[in-house]
Amino acid sequence: MTTHRLHLGLFFTGVGPQLLWSQPDFANHTHIDTFIQTVRTLERGLFDAFFLGEGLRVRENRGRVYDLDVAGRPDAITQLAALAAETERIGLVATQNTTYNFPFDLARRLASLDHVSGGRAGWNIVTTDNAWTGENFRYGGWLPHERRYERAAEFVATARSLWGGDSVDTHSDLVNVTGSLGVTGNPVLFQAGDSPGGRDLAARLADAVFSANTDYDKAQAYAADLTARLKAYGRSRDQIRILPGAQVVLGDTEKEAAEKADWIQREQTTGPRAIAFLEQYWNKDLSGYDPDGPLPDIEPAEGELDPSRGTISIEHRTGKLERIAEWRSLGLSIRELVLHVTPRHNTFVGTPGGVADEWARYVRTRAVDGFNLVPQLLPGSIEDIVDRLVPELQERGVYRTEYEGRTLREHLDLA
């Protein structure tokens, strides 16, 4: 029987509550040196890839710039190109959307990243499906959700032809390219959306998925669903790598790890963050409420959620009144509720050995092929994983002991 090994990526979220920017000893989040130190540590830990997200608008809360997001969203390819010069082996994956880019231009930028890095580029394909983001572009709001996946599929097919050295001549109402790139390349394609359109796109053309299904049962169900979809496109489970997002909190004992996880989650869910979270749903000023008191007794404003925090998937933008009614029935404080509904279930908490045992089970049963890890503290989270968890995984034979290949495709054992 083949021993499947874990593939690890690190997803640098930039904005969002996971990273505790506000800790005084936290690295400077806009300086390139922070990123350089991070990827060097990951390379020491033999990680497959470093991921950067994308955002095309400053996030807001109730129409105002959301001051708890301090990092901004620099362009991923530009940042990763700089990191390429500082690293030798680690894959560099850029999240880039297919809606507000030209196919030729983005294909060329990704091929260039593949070249400056010597074959380590990856593309996390997203469609950026909201008109709120579109307001920064003249084509604000163009294309309904399902057509975005249509354009994405044509866009990716065109990029692949260009990378293959083909002279492309493709014309539709969504993609128009005549020409050739002159650069061959083969960036690894990641897909991240969990909607049916997103899953189909993954089955059709992705090399790897950055899935949202981390709990063991969900991970198994997702792998089964994806396997069925792959079959429909004439592909097999072996042709794709599944890497759900996850957080890790380690301690010398289970108890110490649990305490640290609680501390991190409380820091991630400050009073103002908890209030801002509810304001998204109520769409009213809730600043007068005590984060440790009961949920607001006033009724929420009309209308569904707007995506102005940039993170709400389309499946979660409707049905807010039902959700609020359900929350009220739980009898939790505002902060307790936010702790309850935010994705703590994606967090592995324990001793390095305990977490390694759990991950070994995931990969041996092929519920996943690895994890895309979201750090909370820089450099602390990463040093913990690299120095404490990686050796335990190696001891269990589920993680590499050296880089065998040079390209990201080779790291992921993709043909």
Partner: protein, 419 residues
């Protein structure tokens, strides 16, 4: 006030060869590292990456995307500026502001944008024909209004360290731009913290009337092809007369130097190069310089071209400035052979001689006030490296024209440009 000095730029080099482009798991940075190191050792102010958007138009230029390339170069250098050529015709301003903003951050304030409006490449960005120069420049102007507003959309102090060392964001200092124009509507603000340089240094290339108007209004530096001192004087007068900013834009000329240990050696090298020209292939090169609409296949090599062959400038949609340069040469009575020779340098300033003679040519333009930034060739080539570093640059430094060292940390510091 700091004494006026001549800034220096060189091509980033490392235009990848076919071997690198076939992706043999080897970084295309390898050759570029050598040039970058030589440039910093020689205290060159900036590295320059051209772009043609189309592969094969001039060798392998255009194969790699310039921003990605200079971003990688930002980590193999620490002081030299990084100039990326990017078109406004095929990009959206919000993306452009993010891309250059990110480059300025990763390089700690060394980014410069060489703005072009593109004379080729539309087939890759369809549908549609290449817009006319007037329309391309109108779009470029609106693009600049938008990107400048985006770069200014985070006011000073919007992101700062609080009393306990935590990063604090003040939303009251970040405002939407709410731009609604003919080509774009952009809400803003930019989603990147303030740039180390505030804005990247703006360089613009294009010598047509529309190009000059854009450069006079927006550019801090204009990249030019000015073959003679008289051309440089006329151009500088024209563009500065249209500019409301004293001393701006700075004049940036590409200097196509042929280096010799003696004058005779330099002349011999020029002769050898002229003899190696394929004059039959040169006919189409000159036709291309004239906008591509003329047929020179039957014209006599050693006779002046008839004025009837001069193109109607307003009909030309691509590289109109180049067509103006070559039309002028025809009116001056140059033979086709001479035009083909000039086309080898694509109309740029070309001088042959010893380092001292080359320095004389540079000094003449510098002192005439028609040269502020000099693009130097030959640094990457082992045959000429010594002439550049220990010849021309040493001589220009001895004469006090080029500064001895970098002045500061950002490209703006080194060029003496303030916002």
């Amino acid at each position: 006030m700091t004494r006026r000095t001549l800034a220096t730029v060189t091509a980033a080099g490392g235009h990848p060869g076919p071997y690198e482009l076939s992706l043999n798991k080897r970084s295309t940075l390898e050759t570029a590292r050598l040039v970058a190191r030589r440039a910093e050792d020689a205290r060159i102010d900036a590295l320059f990456v051209p772009d043609l958007l189309v592969f094969g138009a001039q060798g392998t230029i255009g194969a790699q995307e310039p921003l990605v390339f200079v971003s990688a170069l930002s980590q193999v250098t620490s002081q030299t500026g990084l100039i990326a050529t990017v078109s406004t015709t095929f990009h959206h301003p919000f993306n452009l502001a993010r891309l250059f903003g990110t480059l300025d951050h990763v390089s700690n304030g060394r980014a410069a944008w060489n703005l072009v409006t593109s004379s080729i490449g539309e087939e890759n960005y369809g549908p549609g024909e290449l817009p006319s120069p007037e329309e391309r420049y109108a779009r470029a102007a609106e693009t600049l209004d938008v990107v400048n507003a985006l770069w200014d959309s985070w006011k000073p102090g919007s992101l700062r360290a609080g009393p306990d060392g935590k990063a604090v964001l003040d939303p009251s200092l970040i405002a939407p731009i709410d731009h609604r124009g003919s080509y774009f509507s952009v809400r803003g603000p930019l989603n990147i913290p303030p740039l180390p340089q505030g804005r990247p240094v703006l360089i613009q290339a294009g010598q047509s009337a529309a190009g000059i108007a854009l450069g006079a209004k927006y550019a801090e530096i204009v990249f030019t092809a000015l073959p003679t001192l008289a051309d440089a004087q006329a151009f500088t007068r024209t563009i500065r007369a249209q500019s409301t900013r004293p001393g701006l834009p700075l004049i940036f000329s590409s200097f196509h130097a042929t280096y010799g240990a003696t004058e005779a050696e330099a002349q011999r090298l020029v002769r050898e190069r002229l003899e190696a020209i394929d004059y039959e292939a040169g006919r189409s090169l000159v036709a291309d310089m004239l906008g591509g609409g003329v047929d020179l296949s039957e014209a006599k090599l050693d006779e002046p071209l008839p004025a009837s062959l001069l193109p109607e400038i307003s009909d030309i949609r691509r590289r109109r400035g180049r067509a103006e340069i070559f039309s002028k040469l025809i009116r001056e009575g140059r033979t086709l052979r001479e035009l083909i020779q000039a086309a080898q340098d694509t109309g740029h300033w070309s001088v042959a001689g010893t380092p001292e003679q080359l320095a004389d040519a540079v000094q003449e333009r510098f002192e005439a006030g028609v040269l502020d930034v000099l693009s130097i060739n030959g640094l990457a080539d082992d045959r000429t490296h010594d002439f550049v570093v220990n010849g021309l640059l040493t001589e220009l430094r001895r004469r006090g024209i080029v500064k001895e060292d970098y002045r500061g940390h950002t490209l703006r510091d080194n060029l003496g440009l303030t916002l």
